[in-house]
Amino acid sequence: MNALRIMIAGSALWAFMLLTFQVLAARGGGRHDFSRPASRPAAGAWYNFTTAMLPWKKESAWLHLAEFGLGIVLHAGVLLTLACVFIMAAAPATGATLLAPLWPLNALSLAAGIALLIRRVRSELLRAISVPDDYLAVSVTCGLLIVALAFSFFGQNPGPPLAYTSLLLIYLPLGKLRHAVFFFVARANYGCRLGHRGVYPPPRSATE
């Protein structure tokens, strides 16, 4: 158990250091903007993380409700499972108590992940723009959900979830899964720029 805890701590440190390095190496958000601001960058970033993300504000959501829903369910299951595994590394009994009853959500999440994988394989458009890493990323997150489901149903052995999560954390900063961090970085950066220019938040009276 201690070896697994050391392993997961090491993997988390690796992921944290690499992702931090990548964000700092990009440095986009830290650049000074010499243009006179029309509004507040922070207001733009706030809007981009709140109102702009509402499903009826994003065509990627309201024109694609099925895909949007599947994505939300998949991410909910994965993030909650990861949270439980981290708690399990620190406090095994508490983590196990939290992870075991998550199985209904994880079963749904797994189904959503598989559906998204099938969509990527079947859609001509998506196949054309996909690379092996796109399939790998969904597959390994589905793998985490399978491990979590096995934990719920077969004996609650903390070894597999901890070991699998360690491997997942090693992959996290290398492949497509790093969008877990760059989602926030990109959205904040974009929102700040639109806020600086007075695009976001849009005028309250505006009817689009």
Binding site: Q22, A25, A26, R27, G28, G29, R31, D33, F34, S35, R36, A38, S39, N48, A52, M53, K58, E59, S60, A61, L63, H64, E67, F68, G71, S123, E124, L125, L126, A128, I129, S130, V131, P132, D133, D134, L136, A137, L174, G175, K176, R178, H179, F182, F183, V185, A186, R187, N189, Y190, G191, R193, L194, R197, G198, V199, Y200, P202, P203, E208
Partner: protein, 432 residues
């Protein structure tokens, strides 16, 4: 082994890519999950629903290079992450993706499930191609014209001056006012006004309309015979050095003439380039304010400096929002307040403001004839938007958009008139 010239090209491309990788493009290059949901927000994809036209695919052509040289897996296992070597052939293929399939309108970014700025990644691709001399000929010629002659249409200085003179004479005859003139190179005026050279060459009534409104408002203004071009094709081509040089010249001319403010004529990308990007290209804040003429017109109305009679514009008017002015520039309301005052029947098209569809003529498309067919096809959405409003007049505060709208009008048989905002204000003026 690539030939020496090819090796130099690849070296220059990698250097520019590295600069982009240190810039904001890297944030967004790392965020794309290729969900493919961006297609429905792109006017090019909606007109031609092919995989190559998906915004994620277009950005992906740039991201491949980023991954190859700036990510660990891209260096070790390029096939796994779709990383690609920068080669002369790969650069040739990039031309179509970043110049021919994207206007940089940014609509996909606003609707992206992640929130990544696709257009910034595409522009990084244009920067790479500009650095290795692979900008499409028509676009590069326009940049060269601007750098060599001071304006994108290479209009000789004496032709510009004589145009201003005869327009002044016509304006005086039309208004009956001796002070209705187009001042050129007048020092110590309050405003330096920049125009699209298309106004001088093909649409002089637009320039004289602005002069008429300035006269009615009692504005102290001037044009410069050396530097009057509001456009900036270096912005479109991805050549930041050229774009910055064009901005620097305007600021220097404004200082030489001793004006207090630069007012940008109706040009979407010109506004974005000068107002927002320019200070970052020259890496210094402007010593004087830079505003759009729309903001100035709005100010005239608010201060009661001009009066209009909306009955003079009785037909239904709709408004096309230029992407660079609105989605990238933040100027969405002044033109609405102005049109609301001077048009009797104003109708919004939907979607509008920062959600508006690109007309298809952005990103320098109008200067790249090789992509003309796709440009007109991608204007179909705009044509449908216009048709649904039932408008007889389409106002647009951008001469590039106006050119595209003129073509769309003809191609899709809309039967509308295309006007700039200042033309509509001038048409409704009540002279003091």
């Amino acid at each position: 082994m690539p030939a020496p010239d090819d090796a130099q090209m690849v070296f220059a491309a990698r250097r520019t890519l590295a600069a982009a990788a240190r810039g904001l493009a890297a944030y967004h290059a790392n965020a794309c999950v290729k969900c493919g949901l961006c297609g429905q927000s792109c006017h090019v994809f909606l007109a031609e629903p092919q995989p190559e036209n998906l915004p994620a695919a277009k950005a992906g052509e740039v991201i491949r290079f980023y991954r190859r040289y700036h990510t660990l897996l891209g260096k070790l296992l390029p096939a796994l992450v779709g990383a690609r070597d920068l080669t002369p052939q790969a650069l040739n293929q990039l031309v179509e993706a970043v110049y021919g399939r994207c206007t940089g309108c940014g609509r996909c970014g606003l609707h992206c499930s992640i929130g990544l700025d696709v257009a910034s990644v595409i522009r990084a691709g244009r920067q790479i191609l500009a650095a290795v001399g692979k900008v499409p000929d028509g676009l590069q010629r326009t940049v060269n014209n601007q750098l060599e002659t001071g304006n994108q249409m290479a209009i000789p200085r004496d032709e510009f001056i004589s145009t201003a003179e005869w327009l002044s004479e016509d304006l005086q005859l039309e208004t009956g006012r001796k002070d209705a003139v187009i001042p050129v190179d007048q020092p110590n005026r309050r405003v330096l006004y920049l125009v699209n050279p298309r106004e001088v060459k093909f649409f002089p009534l637009s320039l004289s309309a602005a002069a008429g409104v300035f006269t009615a408002a009692g504005e102290s203004w001037t044009l410069s015979s050396k530097i009057y071009d509001v456009t900036n094709y270096g912005f479109f081509s991805g050549d930041d050095a050229a774009a910055g040089e064009l901005v620097r010249r305007v600021v220097e001319e404004a200082q030489a003439l001793g004006v207090q403010e630069i007012i940008l004529g109706e040009c979407g990308h010109g506004f974005r380039a000068f107002r927002w990007e320019g200070p970052n290209w020259t890496r210094q804040a402007y010593p004087l304010p830079v505003r759009s003429v729309l903001e100035l017109l709005d100010e005239y109305f608010a201060a009661g400096r001009i009066r209009v009679d909306p009955a003079k514009n009785p037909e239904r008017v709709t408004l096309h929002d230029p992407c660079n002015l609105v989605r990238w520039g933040g100027v969405s309301e002044p033109q609405r307040r102005v049109l609301g005052r001077c048009c009797a029947n104003f109708a919004e098209m939907h979607p509008n403001r920062h959600n508006n569809y690109c007309c298809g003529g952005g990103g320098g498309m109008l200067s790249m004839s090789e992509f003309g067919q796709r440009r007109v096809a991608s204007g179909q959405l705009k044509a449908e938007q216009i048709r649904r409003t039932g408008a007889k007049i389409v106002a647009t505060p951008c001469h590039n958009c106006a050119d595209q709208l003129l073509e769309i009008n003809k191609h899709y048989k809309l039967g509308v008139e295309i006007k700039t905002v200042v033309e509509l204000v001038y048409g409704a003026l009540v002279w003091p």
